[in-house]
Amino acid sequence: MDGDILSILFDNIQSIGGLMLAVLILGLIGYFLGVTRARAVRARGPLHSLPSYHGAFVLVWTILPAFLVLAVWAAVQPGLVRSAALAEFPQEVLADQTRTDLEYNVVEQVRRGLQSLSEQQDAQVRYGLREIRGALEEQGSVLASELTDYMVDAGYAARAEDDSLSFWRTVVILAIATIGLLGAYFGISPRRRARNAVETVIKGLLIAASAVAILTTFGIVFSMIFESLRFFEAIPPANFFFGTVWDPGFESAGALGGDATGFGLLPLLWGTLYISFIALLIAVPVGLFSAIYMSEFAPPTFRAIAKPLLEILAGIPTIVYGFFALITVGPAIADFFQSVFGMTVSASSVATAGIVMGIMIIPFVSSLSDDIINAVPQSLRDGSYGLGATKAETVQNVILPAALPGIVGAVLLAASRAIGETMIVVLAAGATAKISANPLEDMTTITVKIVSQLTGDVDFTSPQALVAFALGITLFAITLVMNVMALRIVRKYREKYE
């Protein structure tokens, strides 16, 4: 009976998740053991650290080395399993890299299927009593392609390798955790600086957490650069950055060699900038005047109502604005031109997207400008009033000039927001890439094309998909420059009055 429970336990900690849980439980046990022992030691004389720190010290030594080793192991194991499986592949298959990759995917499926078979099914398959395919299907894994003998062999080899590696992983990790636990536990002494050690570990974790921000940026930049370089291998950069035609065609049109001129960025950039311009045309005056009125003229009760109302606009998800543009604003504009001028214009257009996007960034402009106007020192206002200026004159001649750099920063931030905005333009700007000055025509933007090139059935190796990464890094670069400039201006301006 005892043996049964142990073997069930052991089966459960074969998986990485189960193993981590086991180590964690071990760590918690270590914590309580450590606290108890430290208390016992304290009964005999003063301790450097509180008992809870001794407990935490044991906990750290139990789980930290184990987890580090586990992370390395988990990274290495798939490679070892793969090489074990590839040993069963015939030489001519191995010579062809893509074929090897494709067939290894099938082997992976077989391996996972084999691991899910019941003992009885497994035995039947092993002794040739039934087809492996049928047994796998019974377990719910349907193989996409034909199985050859060596692939079944490879599947078995991979499973054997994976099983044995997983077994040793469990043994080694548990051993490390136990050694750590025992070592730390028996080392508890009055002189141990447990608190300092634990605090160092915590500090390390804090630093690791703040490094996530850097890792994210690196991830963004490197993943996009990497994929963009693959794109530029197929399409010359000049064609992309200076091309005036966007017509990438379909993936089936041939990955390479065909038409490399249909990847022009300029029409998309034009659409993006045009829509953002219209958005700013609405958002900047409305947002700026709202901010001025609220910070300089409005009575407090008015402010208390109007400010949250404007902030609601900022809290509405962009998809809602997109739907609003698609279903209400677009048809309204089309109807208006139909009835007043008798013109037929499409419901999705630069104007539709621009107006709705303008509404969306009003609160953005107003709250940023509000902050900046409030940062202008009261003494400047008082000086102006003292000279006999009215409030409006003070705003025009004193506050706005003083706040101008900050407001420029705010407008830049709003513009960068508009350029990167996706859902409104996806739903309401249209899909035709063209350069035209007529705001009633439908045009398209960088973000729209990123979405359309990466959704649906995508072959991530075709230039048609890879172009999205080139578009992405262009978008990232544009917004980054604008953000850095804006943040710098805003920060410098704030410092000036502090």
Partner: protein, 451 residues
């Protein structure tokens, strides 16, 4: 202004008593003042009008989506067809299940429902013209609904019962006035003959608009009446959980380091610049990152909440960090100094004293970050979470959608009936967001301390 002052001086000399010249320009300046004020008020009015228009547009289109037209049909559940072998009373429910899902039964089910409708309308089932039109009043999946009703309550078999079935999306839209009677018959989705039938059904009290629980309980479907948000709600909840579990601890840890421990050097400067920039990076870029790193590089499955949750975590982190740092900054230095003074270590002073005091601010910021993440669509499209999923996912590694991406999906459907579904889904989303924001405001009001 300066002109006015000068002329005043010239005219009145050192005794500025009753001189009409002093009023020179005042009227103009006052008018300018008023004009300026009016511009400001106008701007706020415009912004608020936009808000009202948006809300009105969504609510007026979506409120009907919470009701769904259903048809009450008197159905005779013939034992000979539905359960000839008496399986429903067998000890093993599996066999009855299997019988109901068997091909033969599946073939018989639609006719039972359709004939009940035809009988109600007194239409000959062999009528080539009217019968197909009449059948198209019922939901395409009415027989599946019927099957589920029987499975749920096998005692129905053998009797005659009034059962409710969904009307088809077009019919529903017509009855709610979304499709006009004045549209010419040829281009109208609902034909004249069907309108007559519907009038007949209304008169007989067979049609009713009932609360649309299906909107929340059903999965994705190409048929409006069968389309629901359950998978999307599940996916969104799961992702919010992932974001909360990851972004809150990482964000708080990062802020504590930056605010309390970090020395002023290049490395911490780099982190600062990074965080500020990440907060302003377009959300779609995070989607591209997720696609490249989590799906193509790490091999996580596409369209799944785990990838969505990770992407949204990275997106929410800057918001959490900025809010947390502001909250930590607001705790006065005296608290830290007092803790250090009585012998606490730096770490103890932060974790035992500063962090608990900053907690309300941190939670408020986290809730606002979560609300942002909940409404985010673009990165989820890139990682494939806009797919139609008609099966409830089993976990974070199963394909799912989110509420906003479901809204996107529906907003592109051409059928009229999907417009109100989409708007209704938006209302659901906005209500959830409103609740989260109200919670954040309440938290702030309740626990905020001014030092």
């Amino acid at each position: 202004m300066s002109d006015a002052t000068l002329s005043t001086g010239d005219a009145a000399g050192s005794h500025p008593t009753s001189t009409p010249v002093r009023d020179f320009g005042i009227r103009r300046r006052r008018a300018a003042e008023t004009r300026f004020k009016v511009y400001g008020l106008l701007a706020i009015t415009i912004a608020v009008c936009f808000l009202v228009l948006l809300m009105y547009s969504i609510i007026s289109k979506g409120i009907t989506g919470f009701y769904q037209t259903e048809i009450k049909l008197e159905i005779t559940l013939d034992e000979a067809v539905l359960d000839p072998d008496g399986l429903r009373n067998a000890p093993n429910p599996e066999s009855f299940n299997a019988h109901m899902f068997a091909f033969k039964t599946q073939m018989a089910l639609p006719r039972i429902v359709q004939n009940a409708l035809l009988e109600e309308l007194e239409i000959d089932p062999l009528d080539d013209e009217l019968a197909p039109l009449a059948k198209r009043i019922l939901s395409v999946n009415a027989h599946f609904a019927f099957r589920d009703m029987v499975l749920e309550n096998p005692d129905l078999i053998g009797g005659t019962h009034d059962l409710w079935f969904y009307a088809r999306g077009d019919i529903d839209a017509f009855l709610k006035g979304a499709i006009s009677r004045d549209t010419p018959n040829e281009i109208r989705q609902v034909k004249d003959a069907q309108i007559e039938m519907l009038d007949q059904l209304v008169e007989a009290g067979r049609l009713e608009k009932r609360f649309n629980w299906g909107l929340i309980t059903q999965t994705s479907s190409p048929y409006a009446e069968n389309a629901g948000l359950s998978v999307a709600i599940y996916g969104s909840l799961l992702m919010m959980l992932i974001v909360l579990v990851l972004a809150l601890p990482i964000g708080v840890a990062a802020s504590i380091y930056l605010e309390e421990f970090a020395p002023k050097n290049r490395f911490t400067d780099l982190i600062e610049v990074n965080i500020n920039n990440l907060a302003a990076v377009p959300s779609i870029v995070f989607g591209i990152l997720g696609l490249a790193v989590f799906i193509n590089f790490a091999g996580l499955p596409r369209s799944t909440p785990i990838v969505g949750g990770l992407v949204l975590t990275l997106m929410t982190l800057p918001t959490v960090i900025i809010a947390t740092r502001a909250a930590l900054k607001a705790v006065p230095p005296s608290v830290r100094e007092a803790a250090l003074g009585v012998g606490a270590s730096k770490m103890q002073s932060v974790f035992h004293h500063v962090l608990p005091l900053a907690m309300p601010g941190i939670l408020t910021g986290t809730i606002i970050g979560l609300a942002q993440a909940l409404g985010e669509t673009a990165p989820l499209l890139i990682i494939g979470m806009d797919a139609s999923v008609n099966r409830m996912p089993d976990g974070p590694l199963d394909p799912a959608t989110s509420i906003p991406s479901q809204i996107y999906n529906w907003s592109r459907a051409s059928e009229r009936a999907f417009v109100e579904r989409t708007s209704a889904a938006i209302i659901v989303l906005l209500m959830v967001l409103a609740m989260m924001n109200i919670l954040a405001v309440l938290l702030r009001r309740r626990f905020e301390r001014r030092w």
